[in-house]
Amino acid sequence: MALLSRKDSKLILDPLADNNPITIQVLGICSALAITAELKASIVMALSVLFVLGLGNVVISLMRNMIPSKIRIIVQLVVVATLVIIVDQVLKAFAYELSKTLAVFVGLIITNCIIMGRFEAFALGNGVWRSFLDGIGNAAGYGVILIIVGFFRELLGSGTLLGFPVLGNPIEKTGLYAMGYENNGFMLLSPMALIVVGILIWFQRSRNPALIEEN
C-alpha cells in the first residue's frame, strides 16, 4: 500500500484480525448479540458504527488539546450523541422499515464500548489522520464480525440472505425444504449469537496460538 505507511496500514489491519474489538477485546458484544438475526440489519449497523467511529475519532482528535481532562467523558458523549442522532435521522428518513428493526440499538451506539474506548485510548493522544484510520479500522473489525454472525444466523435461522430465500421456500416445501430440512429457530435467539461469536473466538485462537493467554 503506497497510500499508507506500514505503521498506518497496521492501524487499519490490526483490528480486523489479531486485535479485533469483538473477538479479542470482547467489546461491543451487546449489539452484536441483539441485531445480528438479519444480515441486512448487521450491515447497516456496521456502516453506522463506521460513520460514527470514523468521524467521532476525527472530531475528538481535533479537539484533543482543548478538552479539559476532567470533563472529557461528557465531551465525548456529546460528540457521539450528535453523530448517532444524525445516523438515526438519516435511517428514519431513507430506510424507515430498517430503522424499526434496529429500534433502540442505533441509539445505543452511544453506549457501545468500542467507541468510547477508541476515543479514550487513541483519539485523545493522536493526530487527526491516524485517529481517522484507527476509527475506520476498529469499526471495520466490529463490522466484519457482525456481518459474519449475521450471515450464519440469517442463513440457518430463516433460510434467507438479505431477505432473499436462498434455501427454498419453507411453506411450499421447495429446494432444501423438500428434503425435510427445517430452519433452526434457535439461531434467531440471542444465546445462539453468543455461541456463534464464541465459535469465532475459538477458531481465531486456534489458528493463532499467540492470542491464547497463559494462566
Partner: protein
C-alpha cells in the same frame, strides 16, 4: 512362543504397544479398555485396586436404561396402532402390548435414533481425542443412550445428528471434556432440539410414529401427551388410567413413559451406589411440595375453571410424578455426578429445587408442557454455588464450635497447635 498361542487379550496388548504414540492410539485404546482392564499401572502414589472405573460406572447406568429402552420399543408400536385402530377394548399386556408388530415399529423407529446418537456422538469424541492427542473419554456412553430416550419418536434423524454435534461440542468439549462440563450434555442436546425445532418437539403429532407425515391428510393421527392436553384443556378427563400412567402405556418422549421401569432402574442405581438417593428423594419431595401448593390454591378457590392454569393446577399432586419426563429426569439426569451438587446437604437442596421448579414450569408456562429439562439445566448452573455455601457454612459452624469450646489448661497447648494448623 508363536503368535497363535497368544490369547486374544494378549494380542490386543501387543497391538496397543505397537500403536503407542501414533495418532490412532486413543481410538484403539477406547475400544480396548471397553473390553479389558489395561495392563499398566500408575508408577507413583498410592494405589487402589477397584473394578468400578469410569467405564464400569457408565455401563451400570446403561444396564439400568436397557429395560426402559426395550419397553419404549414396544410402546412405540402400541401408541401407533392405538392411534390408527383405536385403543384395544380389553387391554392385555401379552396380546396388545408385547407383540412382534409393536416391537417391529420400535426396531424401525427407536433403534435408528440410538444408532445415530451413538454414531455421531462417538465420532465427535474420537475426532476430538485424535486432534487433542488424549484418550477417548467415556462420557458419551451414557449420554448416547439417554438422548434417544428423551426425544419424541418422530424426530428426524438429521435433526438428532445436528443436535448431538452441538451438544457434545458446545455442551462438553469446549469446557474440557468429560467431567469438566457444567451442563448435562444429554439435556443440552434436548434443549437445543427444543429451541431450534419447536414444531418437531411439541404438539400432538410428534409423539406417534408417522404423526408428522400424516398431518393434514385424511389419515391424520395424533397422540397428545397428558401434560400437553392439560395445558390446553381445563378438565381432568382423559382416557388414561393411573395404572396406564404408572406402567407407561401413554404417549410421550421415547423412554420417559414407564415410571415403573424407571423406578426399578433408579433402585438398581441406588443399590449399586452409582446415583445419589438424596437427589432422587429430595427431587420427588420438591415436586410433591409444588404440586400440593397448586392443589391447595385450587381447593381454596383462588383459581377457577376459567383460568388457563386450572387444568394443570387441579391435577392431583402425586400424578405429576407419573406423567411426563419428571421421573426419568430425576433418576437418570439430575443424579449426574458431574453436573450435580457434590456435598450431601447440597444434594438435598439441589434435588428439591429441581422437583419444585419442574412442576412450576409445567403449570405456569403452557409453551413448555414439560419443564424438567429446563429445571435440571438451571440447577446444573447453580450446583457449584450451592456447594460453595454448604462448604462455607460447615467451615463457619466448626470454627464457631471450636471457639466456644471450653479448653482445659492441659489441652491448651494442643488447642493452640490446632488453631495454627487451621
Amino acid at each position: 512362543m508363536s503368535n497363535k498361542r497368544l490369547t486374544f487379550k494378549k494380542r490386543l496388548h501387543i497391538i496397543k504397544h505397537q500403536l503407542r504414540g501414533k495418532k490412532l492410539a486413543p481410538a484403539f485404546n477406547a475400544f480396548h479398555t471397553f473390553l479389558f482392564t489395561p495392563d499398566e499401572t500408575t508408577h507413583s502414589g498410592g494405589h487402589i485396586r477397584a473394578a468400578d472405573d469410569l467405564k464400569r460406572t457408565m455401563n451400570t447406568v446403561i444396564i439400568a436404561l436397557i429395560p426402559v429402552l426395550l419397553f419404549s420399543m414396544f410402546n412405540a408400536g402400541y401408541q401407533y396402532y392405538s392411534a390408527v385402530n383405536g385403543f384395544p377394548e380389553n387391554f392385555s399386556v401379552w396380546n396388545d402390548f408385547l407383540t412382534w408388530d409393536n416391537f417391529w415399529i420400535g426396531i424401525i423407529k427407536v433403534l435408528p435414533l440410538v444408532v445415530v446418537s451413538y454414531g455421531v456422538g462417538l465420532l465427535v469424541e474420537f475426532i476430538f481425542a485424535v486432534i487433542k492427542g488424549h484418550e477417548v473419554e467415556e462420557g458419551y456412553l451414557v449420554t448416547g443412550m439417554l438422548v434417544p430416550l428423551i426425544v419424541p419418536i418422530d424426530t428426524p434423524l438429521w435433526m438428532l445428528a445436528v443436535a448431538v454435534v452441538f451438544g457434545v461440542i458446545i455442551g462438553k468439549e469446549v469446557f474440557g471434556g468429560t467431567g469438566m462440563n457444567i451442563l448435562n450434555p444429554a439435556l443440552t442436546i434436548r434443549a437445543f432440539l427444543f429451541f431450534a425445532y419447536p414444531t418437531w418437539m411439541s404438539g400432538d403429532k410428534v409423539w406417534v410414529y408417522q404423526g408428522m407425515e400424516r398431518a393434514g391428510t385424511p389419515d391424520a393421527i395424533s397422540g397428545e401427551t397428558i401434560l400437553g392436553y392439560l395445558a390446553q384443556n381445563s378438565q381432568n378427563e382423559f382416557s388414561y388410567t393411573v395404572s396406564d400412567m404408572f406402567f407407561g402405556f401413554i404417549p410421550g418422549s421415547v423412554g420417559e413413559t414407564s415410571t415403573f421401569l424407571i423406578l426399578l432402574g433408579g433402585l438398581f442405581l441406588i443399590f449399586s451406589k452409582i446415583a445419589s438417593w438424596r437427589i432422587m428423594v429430595s427431587a420427588v419431595a420438591g415436586a410433591l411440595a409444588m404440586g400440593l401448593i397448586f392443589n391447595g390454591v385450587v381447593d381454596a378457590g383462588w383459581i377457577t375453571e376459567s383460568s388457563k392454569f386450572y387444568g394443570l393446577m387441579s391435577f392431583d399432586f402425586w400424578k405429576h410424578l407419573i406423567v411426563g419426563g419428571l421421573a426419568f429426569g430425576i433418576v437418570y439426569m439430575a443424579t449426574d455426578p458431574v453436573t450435580g451438587s457434590q456435598t450431601n446437604r447440597g444434594k438435598w437442596i439441589y434435588g428439591f429445587l429441581i422437583g419444585f421448579i419442574s412442576v412450576m414450569i409445567r403449570v405456569f408456562n403452557p409453551a413448555y408442557p414439560e419443564g424438567v429439562f429446563l429445571a435440571i439445566l438451571l440447577m446444573n448452573v447453580f450446583a457449584p454455588t450451592i456447594d460453595h455455601y454448604v462448604v462455607q457454612a460447615n467451615v463457619k459452624r466448626r470454627m464457631k464450635r471450636f471457639k466456644n469450646a471450653v479448653i482445659l489448661p492441659k489441652d491448651a497447648e494442643e488447642a493452640k497447635l490446632k488453631v495454627e494448623t487451621i
